[in-house]
């Protein structure tokens, strides 16, 4: 037999089905401004290729550091926000160099 007997998904259905909600047509009248924490200025959230930013997986990811044997939470980070609204003046958020990959993508997909 060539086909799968049982196919089950644990993650993707719920996550990606939510990415596919239809956009509100009057989005322009529903501008939303966010910031990652109170060290950063508010900024209007972006949309991703027709996907509502609020539906996007990991809309806000916790951000912190491990030191002294424990985790120290220092805020949240979102790919829907501009760099200024993510980082603000929090020194811990800029301790690692980022953005060293991702600049070559010439289209909306790298598929082959």
């Amino acid at each position: 037999m060539k086909k799968s007997k049982i196919v089950g998904l644990v993650l993707i259905t719920a996550v990606l089905a939510s990415c596919n909600k239809h956009e509100k047509k009057n989005w322009d009248n529903n501008d939303v401004y966010m910031r990652s924490d109170d060290s950063a200025p508010y900024n209007q959230v972006q949309q991703f290729g027709g996907v509502n930013a609020f539906m996007w997986y990991y809309a806000f990811r916790p951000y912190g550091m491990y030191y002294g044997g424990s985790y120290h939470h220092s805020g949240y980070y979102s790919s829907g926000l501009s760099e200024s609204s993510n980082i603000g003046h929090s020194s811990t958020k800029s301790s690692a160099m980022r953005g060293g990959f991702g600049g070559s993508s010439r289209s909306f997909s790298v598929s082959s």
């Binding site: 196919v7 644990v10 993707i12 089905a17 596919n20 951000y63 985790y71 790919s79 997909s109 598929s111």
Partner: protein
């Protein structure tokens, strides 16, 4: 005693028009397939392709044999240091060779085949960032459950993926397995999240991070919480990575697994096609092929050694340009591959994407296009195996 008999109906590959399921869009969206239609339809179920079991067995055999030959070809390229022909920068060679010599974890690849009812020919091997895995493994399988549940499909992508992640678990560094892709592409995110879904089912601890969120703390690659990344699956091509800022950190960070590993740069490069022809000229699956500067063919397909989704390809017959696609590729050089005519089905040219997962043939997905060159606007069309396998049970007489 049980005797398995394949039916005697041996229709070869066919394209059969059907009526799509009512509200199929909702059905596939419920599975998490959000990119079934962009400006034009991508997933189409107003037809399917039908194969005989014999044809499927031939495709399976071709896939496994070609995979073996590809591994031999990688060894040949490394032994003979042919990196210049692949336009591979010298600074990344140590990373390639280390990943090859240490047998770094690798999980998948997709051959693109042409099939004329008799011959199977390899057009290329998408060895680094192949996509359509979710459509192939999940969407067409659930389509078959609705359309004809008693039929079979050349598709064990899902369980082979889970099984191989479980095998690779023992070869990874301690800690999470990260998954990364670019932002802004639902197609790429879907493929990566599907891979992650399979890894989770194999018992791995996983996390998603977008490629441009990856950081480096001077010693290690880190996630957005500055936690060290030791294992990462990337849907992002090595050919992009080698030209980006963090490639120096990749070279310096030796205790880390990148999946697919760096040696896949050799196989995903179309320069491997003339190498395969040089090594295995009698192989029935390999088309005659040369680097452009050595080409003797009069009728050929001219392809950039690095290109994606059918960009910058020309079809030349009797030194005349028959068809071409635009794009931004070609500066690294071209190869010239013998033309292989695929019969049209309802004016469509189908390409068979045949998956290798964990060293084994694992199933296929079919993309079809109205043009001769399959591009990023081609359609994914499901398939099934036409023969029903009938089981007859005979009771043995007691003497």
């Amino acid at each position: 005693m049980e005797v398995v008999v394949h039916s005697q109906y041996h229709h070869k590959m066919e394209r059969i028009k059907i009526v799509p399921r009512n509200n199929w869009q909702k059905s596939v969206e419920n599975l998490g397939f959000g990119f079934h239609t962009t400006n034009v339809p991508y997933w189409k179920e107003d037809a399917y392709y039908s194969f005989t079991m014999d044809e499927v067995l031939k495709l399976e055999k071709a896939t496994e044999e070609l995979w073996e030959m590809c591994l031999e070809a990688v060894q040949y390229v490394i032994d003979n240091r042919l990196y210049k022909k692949f336009s591979i920068p010298s600074k990344i060679i140590s990373v390639i060779e280390k990943s090859w010599n240490e047998d770094a974890p690798s999980i998948y690849g997709r051959f693109d085949f042409g099939y004329d009812g008799t011959n199977i020919k390899m057009f290329e091997f998408n060895a680094d960032t192949p996509t359509s895995l979710f459509e192939g493994g999940i969407i067409q399988w659930f389509w078959l459950q609705d359309f004809s549940k008693d039929k079979d499909q050349f598709n064990s992508i899902h369980e082979k993926m889970i099984a191989y992640w479980a095998t690779l678990k023992n070869y990874l560094y301690p800690g999470k397995l990260y998954f990364t892709c670019i932002k802004h592409s639902l197609e790429d995110l879907t493929n990566v999240e599907y891979m992650r879904d399979c890894a989770m089912q194999a018992g791995l601890e996983t996390e998603l991070i977008y490629i441009d969120d990856i950081g480096h703390d001077g010693i290690n690659f880190v996630d957005t919480n500055d936690k060290v990344i030791k294992n990462i699956f990337k849907l992002y091509p090595w050919e992009f990575m080698v030209n980006e800022k963090f490639i120096d950190q990749v070279i310096d960070t030796t205790q880390m697994h990148w999946i697919e590993p760096a040696w896949k740069m050799i196989l995903s490069n179309k320069a491997i096609l003339p190498i395969l022809w040089e090594l295995f000229p009698k192989c029935p699956y390999i088309l005659e092929c040369y680097f452009e500067e050595e080409n003797t063919l009069k009728d050929y397909v001219r392809k950039p050694i690095l290109s994606r989704e059918g960009a910058n390809i020309q079809i030349i017959k009797n030194s005349k340009l028959i068809e071409e696609t635009k794009g931004e590729y070609g500066s690294e050089g071209f190869i010239c591959q013998e033309i292989f005519d695929i019969p049209k089905f309802d004016d469509k040219t189908p390409i068979i994407g045949s998956w290798v997962i964990g060293q084994q043939s694992a199933g296929m997905g079919i993309r079809e296009d109205s043009n001769l060159i399959t591009g990023n606007l081609s359609n994914f069309v499901p398939h099934l195996i036409s023969e029903e396998v009938t089981k007859f049970k005979f009771l043995e007489k007691k003497s």
